[in-house]
Amino acid sequence: MRQLTPAQRATIYQTWPAKPIPLSALAANKILFGGACLLRGWSFVYAGGTTAIVDIIDGQDANGTEVGRYQLGSGIGATQWIGTPGVLLSIGLFFASTQFPFTGAFWVTALDDLELDRMHEYHEAAKGQAPYGKGN
């Protein structure tokens, strides 16, 4: 595993696209992404009847750190693009709500070393340079 410099990591965080994490008709509180990541945004719709209170949490359960909260009526959605670098989630992305179901997706970028290594390789290749450690 190559050692990326802080500058290289910062570049990756600023430029690497987010990955969609679909809710897939979510019917209960759920860990959407396990592990540290950057939260870049979301777009979801509430399809239930009663007003729902949604909590977006940095954690593996509802006892984590509150990141954001919505109060949504039936058929109402929420879309937010945070952009780069995004919100740092140190534990994971946990979705909690008083009512269900939800459809839509969150957009995250993983932060583990393997993912960063892969991003760096792609990033260097996209710039027309040989990836670090290969042919250099």
Binding site: K19, I21, S24, G34, Q60, V108, D113, L114
Partner: protein, 267 residues
């Protein structure tokens, strides 16, 4: 090197008088098991080697994660018999990510349970140092074979493990000697069966209760050779009091005589 081989058990309970679909069912993990991949550090790796499924009729299993190919349909199987084991490609399996949260979905027939077991291997898991060996390492050290009978009854709560002491039915293992667990046989269909004890880091190293892949009696040998990694648990007879046969089934209180196929070692 902190090798580890773990088995994660999940259950879908359908109390309704009609079948329940794949995405509608609620899965429950066995007590102590988690679908969150255990934490490990690179360059160590973790792999899903196989999945076992047991249910009434032809059942489906789906495993997804945002870190896999896709988070919508992911890995999909459907049984042709029960229990069924689904092997992932040899020597590569499905890579898993540290603390990633896996999602397991199963369907179930009317008024029945479906259970699944994920067989996960860790190359270096902090705090665990399972005594796993390769076939070539132990083959020249086998003095003979011993088959230990352990009469078990699966849990009255479907989807829960039952751990039965190794010495429950037969207690003839020779003190100070080591034994390699080559495989198992069973007199009745179980979902999964395996060994748990100090030699496995107190994780459950389990095999399917029946297999459409290769003989259960040498399951760990075949898997070790197939994957190219040490997978044969080796325990010391002196640990017999803390070594257990772990079983689970998709029906309550299944009585079975489980036979541990052991290689008696001179190491």
């Amino acid at each position: 090197m902190g090798l580890a081989y773990d088995t994660v058990l999940t259950d879908v309970h359908n109390a309704a008088t009609s079948a329940i679909g794949l995405t509608a069912a609620t899965t429950t993990n066995a007590v102590g098991d988690s679908l969150t991949v255990r934490s490990f550090e690179r360059p160590a790796w973790a792999r899903l080697l196989a999945a076992t499924l047991q249910g009434s009729g032809t059942r489906r299993l789906r495993i997804t994660s945002p870190r896999m190919h896709d988070n919508v349909t992911g890995l999909n199987w459907q049984t042709s018999e029960s229990p069924s084991q689904f092997l992932l490609p040899s020597e590569i399996g499905q890579d898993l990510y540290s603390v990633d949260n896996l999602s397991v979905q199963m369907d179930a027939a009317a008024s029945s349970d479906t259970i699944s077991a994920l067989h996960v291997y860790y190359k270096d898991l902090s705090g665990i140092d399972a005594q796993l060996r390769s076939w070539n390492d132990i083959k020249p050290h086998i003095l003979g074979e011993k088959i230990v009978e352990v009469d078990v009854t699966s849990s009255a709560t479907i989807g829960a493990w039952t751990d039965t002491a190794l010495t429950t039915t037969d207690n003839q293992l020779k003190a100070d000697f080591k034994y390699a667990v080559l495989g198992f046989e069973t007199s009745a269909a179980l979902g999964v069966m395996g060994v748990k004890g100090p030699a496995t880091g107190n994780l459950r190293a389990c095999i399917p209760g029946a297999s459409n892949t290769f003989p259960l009696s040498e399951y760990f040998v075949r898997m070790s050779e197939r994957e190219g990694i040490p997978m044969i648990p080796v325990f010391k007879a002196n640990d017999r009091a803390n070594t257990y046969v772990s079983v689970a089934a998709n029906a309550a209180s299944v009585a079975a005589n489980v036979f541990m196929i052991l290689g008696w070692l001179d190491i």
